[in-house]
């Protein structure tokens, strides 16, 4: 028990009791005063202590909040960074993907360039195709008229049939309408024949792929000479290894041109030969300079056909073998010439009796003449 107040109380024990009361009273007062002061100080201290306590509380609360916040922030920051990092990853992946794609395309481009080069080389052959002199004579039309066809059909006839070509289509139509015809052969003989149209299969659409053939060469600049001789000489020349040739499969003259197509058995001969445009070949007992170029060969990729009816031709069937061929033919012709029988002028008549074999030739009819 000590007091840090300067206010120390020392009582004088030797003081007479007379003063004592006063002194005591004075002491009391002092103590009272002191007490009150102390109380005051206490209060101040309490206040101060509580203040500090509050502040501590505050700080602790704020600390707690800060801890919370920090956690939250760290989490959030972590997330955000992760998000951005995964963006980076995906962008890197995308980049790698793009580079792969580019490489692929560049490869494909190289391939395509090579293909194109190859095609271009082949296409260059078109510049070397043989020329034909052509002329414009006033003929115009649409693109549909670009192709022309000359048909030639060999039609084996059945026994007991005949072919009639009338001058006029109406007559043919009429004969076909009537269908069954009773033909009088002499006074006591009658036969019945049936008239039918003739339908032939014609090409309607031809699709062809052409390409430079590794087996063929086209030979031009040839002199006028006997065809067989020419073909033999060419075949002999180009079958010899020392001339750059090889085994020849076929050698033929192209129709209405003065060019020859030579087919080799192997596929590696033609290319070497065409690298040199001109070759010296012995023809007509001297060296002749012929031109050797690549040959474009075609293959049919699609063929569409149609059945075409002959407009003025009629087939008669069921003709019995009752008479001599020539006589029967005459009788039939006479019958079908008469308008009374539904017939008309006949341009061509062919009878194939039973048991015999005859073939008929069908050809195209020239439509609009060129000149």
């Amino acid at each position: 028990m000590s007091s840090d107040e300067d206010f120390s109380l020392v009582m004088d024990d030797q003081k007479p009791s007379k003063d004592s009361l006063q002194q005591i009273k004075a002491s009391i007062t002092n103590y009272k005063k002191r007490y009150e002061q102390l109380i005051q100080e206490q209060q101040e201290l309490v206040a101060s202590r509580d203040d500090q306590r509050n502040m501590t509380q505050n700080c602790k609360q704020r600390s707690d909040k800060l801890i919370q916040d920090l956690k939250e922030h760290q989490r959030s920051y972590g997330e955000q960074i992760e998000t951005e990092k995964s963006r980076v990853i995906s962008m890197k992946q995308e980049e790698s993907g793009l580079m792969d794609e580019i490489l692929r395309i560049e490869e494909a481009l190289k391939e395509e360039e090579a293909k194109k080069e190859h095609l271009q080389q082949q296409a260059d052959v078109f510049t070397a195709v043989p020329e034909r002199p052509v002329v414009f004579r006033g003929s115009t039309g649409s693109k549909a008229d670009t192709f022309e066809m000359k048909p030639r059909v060999v039609y084996p006839m059945e026994g007991g049939t005949a072919l009639i070509r009338f001058d006029e289509k109406v007559v043919a139509d009429n004969i076909l309408d009537i269908q069954k015809h009773r033909v009088a052969l002499g006074s006591d003989c009658r036969i019945t024949v049936e008239a039918r149209p003739v339908q032939l299969m014609l090409p309607r659409l031809v699709e062809i792929d052409s390409e430079v053939s590794p087996q063929h060469i086209l030979i031009s600049n040839l002199p006028r000479m006997d065809t067989d001789m020419l073909l033999s000489k060419l075949e002999i020349h180009f079958s010899k290894k020392r001339n750059g040739g090889g085994e020849v499969d076929k050698c033929e003259l192209l129709p209405d041109s003065e060019h020859v197509v030579l087919t080799f058995v192997e596929k590696d001969i033609a290319r070497g030969l065409t690298e040199q445009e001109h070759h010296e070949v012995e023809l007509q007992k001297k060296q002749h300079r012929v031109r050797v170029t690549p040959f474009l060969n075609g293959t049919i990729t699609n063929l569409e056909t149609k059945m075409a009816v002959c407009p003025r031709t009629v087939l008669l069937t069921g003709i019995p073998d009752v008479m001599e061929q020539e006589v029967l033919q005459d009788m039939l012709e006479i019958h079908f010439q008469k308008s009374g029988n539904g017939g008309g002028e006949i341009e061509e008549f062919l009878y194939n009796p039973l048991g015999q074999h005859t073939s008929a030739l069908f050809e195209g009819v020239a439509t609009a003449p060129e000149e």
């Binding site: 109380l9 102390l38 980049e95 059909v153």
Partner: protein, 384 residues
């Protein structure tokens, strides 16, 4: 604390009565003093205790404050680190974004180049493809065939010589002119511009050499069987062997147009087959009708058609060279089409204009386009 002696000598006898009172007061006062002394002491104790408490609180507060500051600092550091990391990552993103842009650009260009190249290849490939649509052609019986002794099994043999007419697309403002003589055509081609008088004005026309696309010529050999018939759409109802039998029976019936059957082929997987008749002629008739009634387990209609083979022969590619025909270009559209054509003809007929005898002329006015067909030019015959 001084002990207050409560024993004091009593000096004043005269004041006994008063002294007694005083003594009592003094006692009371002493008691009070004690009380207050105690109170003060206690209060002092309390104060001391409070001082300690306050000091403790001071310490606690300082500590709490320090901790709090530490947390604040941590927060700041955390934020700083975050900002730094973030900016690093975002820089990388920006960089990658730049790369991406460049790469996308490059990719686009590559793709475009590839497509362009492919288009070129396709265009080139087209040069090798021929699409020949044959216009309607009339065929008639001509004469007996001189071909050698045919037996029964010969097919109908067709040889179709197909040729492509060399053509030039004559567009508006162009004309084609064919001279009788090649040398006249060559002469005209040497002139850059010809002034043709038309009514009272002068037209400048430009002669040009004609370049033509390659054309083809070939033969299609088409053989149609007279004894065989293609059958399709055969339903898969009964076993294969029995189907063949039924087909044979059905196709033998003359009442339906059939005839004696020599052989039957049938493929169950495709539902197709082939009937070979003994005699020619039957197949032809049936093929034309397109269908035939067959008895399988019920009566059904099957599809029938001809059997044929084809071959490409004598294929040749050539390029038309117009030696006597010249193209006239850039003809202004003035006046009547026919009149203009006439004036052109008149001009180019005159030797004074380096022209000559004209075989053919065709003019196309603006807005028109004509397909002009060329034909093979026979070599010039010696002058009679």
């Amino acid at each position: 604390m001084a002990d207050i002696c409560s024993n004091r000598p009593v000096n004043d006898k005269e004041e006994d009565g008063g002294l007694e009172e005083e003594a009592r007061e003094t006692e009371e006062a002493k008691k009070e003093l004690e009380t207050w002394k105690t109170k003060a002491e206690k209060a002092d104790d309390v104060k001391a205790r409070l001082i300690l408490e306050k000091l403790e609180e001071d310490e606690a507060k300082e500590k709490a404050k320090q901790e709090m500051m530490a947390h604040v600092k941590k927060q700041e550091e955390c934020q700083k680190e975050f900002k730094l990391n973030m900016s690093t990552v975002q820089e990388e993103i920006l960089l990658l974004g730049g790369h991406r842009h460049v790469l996308l650009d490059r990719l686009k260009r590559c793709q475009a180049a590839l497509e362009a190249k492919r288009a070129e290849s396709t265009k080139l490939k087209q040069k090798f493809k021929i699409y020949a649509q044959i216009p309607d052609t009339e065929v008639e019986f001509r004469a007996p065939s001189k071909e050698e002794g045919d037996d029964n099994s010969q097919p109908i043999r067709g040889v179709f010589a197909i040729s492509q007419r060399p053509t030039v697309l004559l567009q508006g403002g162009q004309a084609l002119i064919t001279f009788e003589e090649e040398k006249v055509a060559s002469q005209i081609l040497k002139i850059a511009k010809c002034s043709v008088s038309c009514e009272n004005i002068s037209l400048d026309v430009k002669p040009r050499r004609i370049t033509m696309e390659p054309a083809v010529k070939f033969e299609v050999h088409l053989d149609v069987s007279r004894k065989q018939l293609k059958v399709s759409n055969v339903p898969l109802s009964i076993p294969e062997e029995r189907t063949k039998e039924h087909l044979e029976m059905s196709f033998s019936r003359p009442s339906r147009g059939g005839g004696e059957v020599d052989g039957v082929e049938y493929d169950r997987n495709t539902g197709t087959g082939q009937i070979t008749f003994l005699h020619p002629g039957v197949a032809e008739g049936l093929a034309l009708s397109g269908r035939y009634r067959v008895d399988l387990d019920s009566e059904v209609n099957v599809l029938v058609g001809p059997v044929y083979k084809y071959q490409l022969c004598k294929f040749q590619t050539f390029c038309g060279a117009p030696k006597r025909t010249v193209l006239l270009n850039d003809i202004e559209d003035k006046g009547d089409e026919e009149d203009l054509q006439d004036h052109l003809e008149i001009h180019f007929q005159k030797p004074s204009n380096f022209g000559g005898e004209i075989e053919s002329i065709q003019y196309a006015s603006r807005g028109k386009a004509l397909q002009a067909f060329f034909c093979e030019d026979s070599p010039p015959t010696a002058a009679p």
